[in-house]
């Protein structure tokens, strides 16, 4: 069954990309209940800035580091300039702000950089690795490892650290959070910085595979969003599993059923899962008594 294996490897590769994006959503969502639709732009920025820094002669690791730091800075700016001033606005308004931000970032990127598609070299070459008749590129392993590592860090962050719980508390009840002494502005800033950095890191990891250009953000954000919802928004485990599942679903559909309708199949499965589990696979039900 080398085909099955190949489909699986392909699914895991793509799934890890989705998982990385989905993981980026979790922190801001956990801190504010807002799905940041500009998350895809963070991924795009990670790839684009790395490419241009690399093209300007910097070694790849340094270029990637600059990209991550710069993107984190942009995340903080987004919070300070757009989210914080709108504090207390209804969640839909905040979502529109993040959509506006994503259009803005896209517009700025095409001006500062360009509208071409770019790629930088894979970290460990392009020699495919053979596994039982199927192949996988070394870069895919990087992506998978990245997704696992970020998942693990986030999981630790939210379950083992006080500040992680403060993030959750901020989203759950901002006023109460202030009343116990949590600086909610700081929590928000931190969340945006971390989300943006994770997004940028994702961009750095996936660009050798997916390529990048100023407008890849939206599609990535959409898939990442779907993956996160499938797994249950806000839960790192959900993001990881949701991403991988979505990728494998797509690959299997493309391989066995119809490549035309692989996205459709993915969404049908998401609908089916949500029908049975309205909170996604691992989402927790909010417990509000009446």
């Amino acid at each position: 069954m080398p085909e099955l294996l190949q489909f699986l490897l392909s699914g895991i590769t793509v799934g890890a990309v989705y998982a990385l994006v989905a993981l980026g959503f979790t922190i801001i969502y956990n801190a504010s209940d807002v799905v940041n639709f500009a998350q895809g732009e963070f991924v795009m920025l990670g790839g684009m800035i790395t490419f241009f820094a690399h093209a300007a002669g910097l070694p790849l690791p340094l270029a990637a580091l600059i990209a991550i730091i710069a993107t984190a800075g942009i995340g903080v700016a987004l919070n300070k300039l757009a989210i914080e001033p709108a504090r207390g606005a209804p969640v839909v308004s905040l979502i529109i702000i993040t959509i506006g931000a994503s259009i803005f970032i896209r517009g700025a990127t095409q001006l500062v950089f360009d509208k071409q598609i770019h790629r930088f070299p894979a970290f460990s070459g392009d020699q495919p690795i053979l596994i039982g008749g199927a192949t996988i590129l070394p870069q895919s392993l990087w992506v998978i490892a990245g997704a696992l590592a970020i998942f693990f860090c986030l999981w630790l962050f939210f379950t083992r650290t006080l500040i992680g719980r403060a993030v959750l508390a901020t989203a759950n009840n901002r006023i109460a959070a202030q009343l116990v002494g949590i600086n909610t502005n700081y929590v928000m800033t931190l969340s945006f910085a971390m989300s943006a950095a994770i997004g940028a890191l994702a961009g750095v990891l996936v660009t050798p595979i997916t390529l990048t250009s100023y407008d890849v953000g939206l599609a990535l954000a959409l898939k990442g969003f779907a993956a996160a919802m499938l797994g249950g928004m806000g839960n790192p485990k959900g993001a990881l599993v949701g991403g991988l599942l979505l990728g494998i679903l797509e690959a299997m559909t493309a391989g066995y059923i119809s490549s035309q309708y692989k996205d459709a199949a993915a969404f049908v499965v998401i609908l089916a899962v949500l029908f049975a589990m309205p909170q996604g696979l691992f989402g927790r039900k909010s417990t509000d008594r009446v």
């Binding site: 009840n173 109460a176 959070a177 009343l179 909010s286 008594r289």
Partner: protein, 233 residues
């Protein structure tokens, strides 16, 4: 310890506090009574910093608080058990308590938590349950316990006895008294005016955003008007 002068506050265009003057001495228990909508909750919200103040001053231990953000007031020793409980419904009881001591990370946190469990054993039973699943009264206990976890030097309590069984109402007032013994200052807003005035040193009466009467608790409790309007006697 806490001095409020000419405090005004508004929701949108509607002013609901029209210049409140009030002071609380260190180690004192002071209570505010008043009818529904008098502005008691608003006053406490102004003090803890989650409600903007449009005029007047709040001075706490010699420092002007008016521009200090809410979270920083906690650091200065001012904690609140708010109206509507405002617990973290998605977090467990234990996490709620831990966050109450957000500013601390020493061994005493655990001791404080055990004290809280001793005070409200039911919370210990439910420690791993999402706080949103607690009954109304249990949530009220959690809100009080969480405020105590912050090791306040001045505690603002907004109707702490609300929704509690009679046996616990008595206990809450005992707790308030014992806090005084520990040197904690308490500003208590209560609908159970009788209970509140019984434990308080002094009291204020609030009517539609103004202080209309104040004095030693014993005097207030004996005042005919107060007996008629708030105690139902």
């Amino acid at each position: 310890m806490l001095t409020v002068e000419g405090l005004r506050s508004r929701y949108g265009r509607i002013e609901v506090l029209h210049g409140i003057d009030l002071d609380v001495a260190s180690g004192e228990i002071v209570t505010v009574v008043g009818a529904n909508g008098a502005g008691k909750t608003t006053l406490l919200k102004c003090l803890s910093g989650i409600q903007p103040v449009s005029a007047g001053s709040i001075v706490f231990r010699g420092e002007a608080l008016t521009t200090v953000p809410a979270h920083a007031r906690v650091r200065r020793g001012l904690a609140q058990s708010p109206e509507g409980r405002q617990i973290f419904t998605n977090l467990t009881v234990e996490e709620n308590l831990r966050l109450g001591a957000y500013l601390f990370s020493d061994d005493k946190v655990e001791r404080d938590r055990d004290d809280a469990f001793a005070m409200f054993p039911i919370l210990k039973e439910k420690r791993n349950l999402a706080a949103g699943g607690l009954s109304g009264g249990q949530q009220q206990m959690l809100a009080i316990a969480r405020a105590l976890m912050g090791r306040p030097s001045c505690l603002l309590l907004d109707e702490p006895s609300m929704g509690l069984a009679p046996i616990l109402v008595a206990q809450i007032f005992d707790v308030v008294k014992s806090l005084k013994a520990l040197g904690v200052t308490v500003l208590l807003v209560e609908q159970n005016a009788f209970g509140a005035l019984s434990v308080a040193d002094r009291g204020y009466v609030m009517e539609t955003g103004r202080i209309t009467m104040s004095g030693p608790a014993a005097e207030l409790i004996a005042d005919e008007r107060i007996r008629a309007a708030y105690l139902g006697i």
